[in-house]
């Protein structure tokens, strides 16, 4: 895996972690709902949309660079990371054993 591909995965994974951490539906369904005292997420809808598009950016960059194998690795790794982030943020990692 080239450095470019690894950076792309890390960037998208980091952005996904941010999105997941402040996901409003996830926060609403937590037993202890307050991230902030009033229970509202830090990011507004516009910010979340921007972050969502930014998640895709590294993959698009790899495609423009012609690294199609890198796009596949990035896509697969990002999807896997997204799933892991959802489980970890849930705080019940034992439940998927």
């Amino acid at each position: 895996m080239t450095a470019a591909c690894m950076i792309a995965v890390l960037v998208s994974g980091g952005l996904l972690a941010l999105l997941g951490w402040q996901d409003p539906k996830r926060l609403r369904n937590r037993p202890q709902r307050a991230v902030l005292e009033d229970g509202t997420p830090v990011f507004g809808q516009g910010t979340r949309r921007l972050l969502g598009w930014l998640v895709l950016l590294p993959g698009i960059a790899l495609a423009i660079a012609g690294q199609w194998w890198g796009v596949l690795v990035w896509l697969g790794a990002t999807c896997t990371l997204g799933w892991i982030i959802a489980q970890v943020l849930d705080g019940h990692s034992r439940s998927w054993s």
């Binding site: 539906k25 996830r26 369904n29 489980q87």
Partner: protein, 539 residues
Amino acid sequence: MFKLPQDATKTMLAVHGWSGVLLGLLLYAVICTGVAAVFATEIDDWASPMSRGDTVAFGPGLDNALRHLAGAVDSQFHEEVAIWRGAGGRVNMLFHRHEIGPDGKSTERGVEFELDPATWEVLDRREGWYEDIEAQRTPSGIAAFLVDLHVRLHIPEPYGLIVTGVLGLAMMVAAVTGLVIHRHLLKDLFTLRVGRDPVLRRRDLHVVAGSWNLPFAFILAFTGSFFSFATTVGLPMVAAVKFDGDQEAVIETLYGTARAEDTRSASSAAIVPMLADVRARSGAEPNFVSVEHFGRADSTATIFTVLPRDRLVYTSHLYDGVTGEYLRERPPLGNEASLGAALVGLMYPLHFGHFAGTASKAVWVALGFAGAYVTFTGMLLWTRRRAEQPGWRAMTRAVYCVGYGLPLALVVAPYAFFVLRGHDIPPGTSQGVVFLAVVAIAAVATVGVASLDRLRSAFLAATGVALLGLPLVRMITGGPGWSEAWQAGIGTVLALDVALLVAGTACIGFSRAGVMPVATVPHAGPGGTPRVDSKASLQ
């Protein structure tokens, strides 16, 4: 994402559930074995390493070995010589001819040598029909067992391939309908409801995993079905429609004949310079050589490589087998590059995930694991929702049996390989017997145990112990220890041993946790009577 009328959503949900639950147990088996088969080469190298890890399979001395061994076999088997890198870096050399087998189907018959690439000593000699030769390939026994289970569920051809092809179609149907019925795919990507109805909780676990895995579920199912149906349905169909059923004629039309027939004797060109030329042209290491009509004037050599860096579609290189002259690059299909050839070529990396070395393989394993998880949780969701019906309660037990018993059986089967290696029993047979025995024990345990949670814990713990024991049994039965492997540069042995120890520890950890103490879910007791547990596992 899609807003369907309520009736249409209900219909789609039914299609989604039934497509999964009817074939889900077999699909789960195919996915689990596929996950392991991604690392088939590494499993071979781990189970049957050579004394040195850095041996180049196609090094100097190959041509001498080829000529020497060609003189040692009946010349009828010079029709084609296949040479490839086998387990641990061994070189396999198969002299064979194409014939109609005892069952009336086209196959190969010949003599195969297994060689040490450092000394070119013959390690083993096998002969007969291709199926018999394949069964005797002991060094690659573990991976071959897994791959055969993945590709055809050990069902005889062509039925096994047809079954796995249908399973792939069922997976595609489940993926597409899952996408259609999920209205809030993006909004629910991180939503796992806690502390509410356990049914909703299970649904969320299934949906979140399925959503993240959706593109690859479709890709893996589509490419898997393609491989299953290409030779069992596609080729015979094209042959029947256009070539009066002559499948050889279809293949000849697709690929063409390399050269005009000339049966005169001629000395063969050296292979090693061709290999060097291929390395220079492609920048990739050759891994398969096919010499047609060895020792004849119309001889050709086709050389395949691992996927070159930055490429997704493989090609092969054709040489004149007498002069050694480079003739042309061959696409995966036909003689000229085309969109169809590129699409066919793309199927391989998309399905096997071997296009970027360990990185892409690791990602494909993770995606496969997610696919198995989605299949398993989907079946549990469907059956537990119908737990008031005896038939579905029995199905829940079957899902537990396969869901936790199958991985245990897959991990225990290699013990038979290690313990019985060196005996006359083919590795596929010994592993198959042990595999079926463990599955049978798991089935009896599933029927007899009242608490499915305890069953789950026991299966996970047993799988963990079996995983932890594999490196030990590998070493006890003659495999290199860690120090020896390190000094010899056999990194695969160390890496897989560590991976097995980590996986084993994780399984034991999961076996000690993982139940949600809030659910009250009825399930069948040993006599089929509905029971209510004070707690039930999520999955």
